[in-house]
């Protein structure tokens, strides 16, 4: 019988009822997944090198957005700074490969590990802050990273403004595919594993505990859930995912430089997440698609007004799909099943 307090903290991330819906149509879902996977495996042979590269990037961005999703969508903590973790992962890869000759596949766990530690450290002060105040801190991180990377005192490590060149991963000798295709399949494998990991995390007891904290922290704590521990670890895990995406990104682009990881990258990730659907795992891929392709489309329509076109497209998408692509799909399915049951 209580009215929700309107005067309190303004931020309350949207709740995702995705899990309940998933339970409702298991069989169809598995067919769809299998179909999508089959198509994904075939794509590199259908398209040319540059498109394959772009598809690889879509997966990478999707993974980065998944990291952000774990933090904001499932754990309810706001971050406008995930571009920093992406950049951090990318630089770990670049430095390890360039300075220490580490093989590319080992750099992924390294990038993930470093980002996990940094993310967890971030999570600690984040416990004290809510909503907009937390946003400011993550925002500070996003702004600080490019500046730190350019800082002359660290140039020995980071290569300063010029950045570092990264070698493209070699194809294992016995496979009859080119380097772009190899990178695509490598990325696909990593992304599949990580999405599966995220999915099982969300469905697990831990995942439910995290969502309980998001929805009502005081009640969750009263039930014995150690909120600070979960929240901090989620920050770490979220950073890990985005960091691995950054590492893959460095391998794909073969180059890291401070200005590639500006505040705008963080904002693009956030926009991609929202348009894909907060709290939705498949939505992250839609977000990745959006982040990669729409700026290009905007530039083709009008060079001078590219930013404006991008903005207009964003508006159109959000007006039509206020809960993102995932929300829209859910509504469409509900509409169809209601029509069927008339």
């Amino acid at each position: 019988m209580t009215t929700p307090q309107q005067d309190t903290v303004p931020f309350a991330p949207a709740v995702a009822e995705h899990d309940a819906r998933l339970a409702a149509w298991p069989a169809t879902r598995h067919w769809v997944l299998a179909g999508v996977l089959a198509i994904a495996l075939v794509l590199p042979f259908v398209f040319q090198g540059f498109v394959v590269f772009q598809l690889t990037q879509v997966m990478i961005y999707g993974l980065a957005i998944l990291g952000l999703n774990l933090l904001t969508g499932f754990s309810g903590q706001f971050s406008v700074g995930h571009g920093a973790f992406y950049g951090l992962g990318a630089y770990v890869t670049a430095i390890l490969m360039d300075r220490y000759g580490v093989a590319y596949y080992w750099t992924l766990p390294a990038a993930g590990g470093v980002c996990f530690v940094v993310g967890t450290l971030f999570g600690l002060p984040a416990l004290r802050l809510r909503g907009l105040y937390l946003a400011l801190v993550t925002f500070a991180a996003a702004v600080a990273l490019p500046q730190l990377l350019k800082f002359h005192g660290l140039e020995g490590w980071t290569g300063g403004v010029q950045g570092i060149v990264v070698d493209q991963p070699d194809v294992p000798g016995f496979l009859p595919i080119d380097t772009d295709q190899w990178l695509y399949y490598f990325t696909l494998a990593v992304v599949l594993v990580m999405f599966a990991g995220a999915s099982s995390l969300v469905k697990s007891r831990t995942g439910r505990a995290i969502m309980a904290i998001r929805d009502h922290e005081i009640a969750a704590a009263a039930m014995g859930i150690n909120a600070p521990l979960y929240k901090t670890l989620t920050f770490g895990v979220s950073a890990l995912f985005t960091g691995v995406a950054g590492a893959l990104g460095a391998l794909a682009v073969q180059f890291v430089a401070p200005d590639s990881f500006s505040l705008f990258l963080s904002l693009y990730f956030l926009v991609g997440l929202i348009l894909g659907g907060m709290g939705s795992l498949p939505g992250c891929l839609f977000g990745g698609l959006f982040v990669l392709y729409v700026p290009n489309i905007a530039e083709e329509v009008s060079r001078g007004l590219a930013g404006a076109i991008y903005g207009v497209i964003m508006l159109l998408v959000i007006f039509v799909m206020p809960s993102g692509a995932a929300g829209f799909t859910r509504l469409a399915f509900a509409y169809v099943s209601r029509w069927r049951n008339r």
Binding site: M1, T3, D7
Partner: protein
């Protein structure tokens, strides 16, 4: 009839909460809506104020107000004291009262009404410059009623005014409501779990069970009914 409701349905998203309710209220009269938790009492008041999706017919002073925006219904003279009180916690007690009269233009009348409210509720006068969020539950309830009265409403909707209050304070409050009804002729529809008090104040009562009206009659008759006595009056 000042308020006429026919075939009222109400929905929270996909869930239907009211299934074709019908009732009415004359000018100056007091009626009560009884029922257990979850029966749909609060939903009825929310539906009347356009706060949720509805179906069916709602008429206030002849006008069909179904589908109207809340603020427009309020401006017709309908004051709603919601469950949870809806106090503006960050402004002062006096500002809360001023907000109640925000749609009125007569400065003199507003000032006089504020004094009248303080006369009914002296505790509010003591705390007039304090932040409303610091008041106790009982004081906030009085403030909520006072704020509603500042509208000079023709109809007052009260949602569980006794909730969470000490018995003595509840009696005080109901006494004031009775007096206000006598002095100003404002009609009242009171939703209550405390059946005894509500039946004392109101002339006519409705009993709501899972979204449907199951009993409808004068308060004495409802109060005398054995089923009601066992379930809602405790004897």
């Amino acid at each position: 009839m000042m308020l006429e409701v026919n075939g009222l349905e109400a929905f929270y998203g996909e869930q239907q909460a009211l299934f074709g309710i019908g009732f009415g209220l004359d000018e100056g009269r007091v009626r009560t809506l009884l029922g257990a938790n979850g029966a749909g009492k609060t939903t009825v008041l929310r539906a009347l104020c356009g706060m949720i999706r509805t179906g069916g017919d709602i008429r206030f002073e002849g006008k069909c107000i179904a589908g109207w925006a809340t603020e427009d219904i309020v401006r017709l003279g309908v004051a709603h004291v919601p469950d949870g009180r809806g106090t503006f916690l960050r402004v002062t007690v006096e500002e809360n009262l001023q907000l109640g009269a925000i749609t009125r233009r007569d400065r003199v009348g507003i000032a006089a009404d504020i004094e009248q409210i303080y006369h009914h509720f002296p505790r509010l006068k003591e705390r007039r410059t304090q932040q409303a969020g610091l008041l106790s539950g009982g004081e906030q309830q009085m403030l909520a009623v006072g704020r509603a009265l500042m509208l000079r409403p023709r109809l007052m909707l009260l949602d569980e005014p006794s909730f969470g209050l000490a018995p003595l304070i509840v009696e005080e409050l109901f006494a004031i409501l009775r007096q206000v009804n006598r002095d100003t002729g404002v009609a009242m529809l009171i939703v209550e779990q405390n059946a005894a008090l509500a039946l004392e104040l109101a002339e006519h009562a409705y009993l709501l069970e899972t979204g449907r009206i199951v009993m409808d009659g004068p308060s004495e008759a409802i109060g005398a009914d054995e089923g009601v006595r066992r379930a809602y009056l405790g004897y």
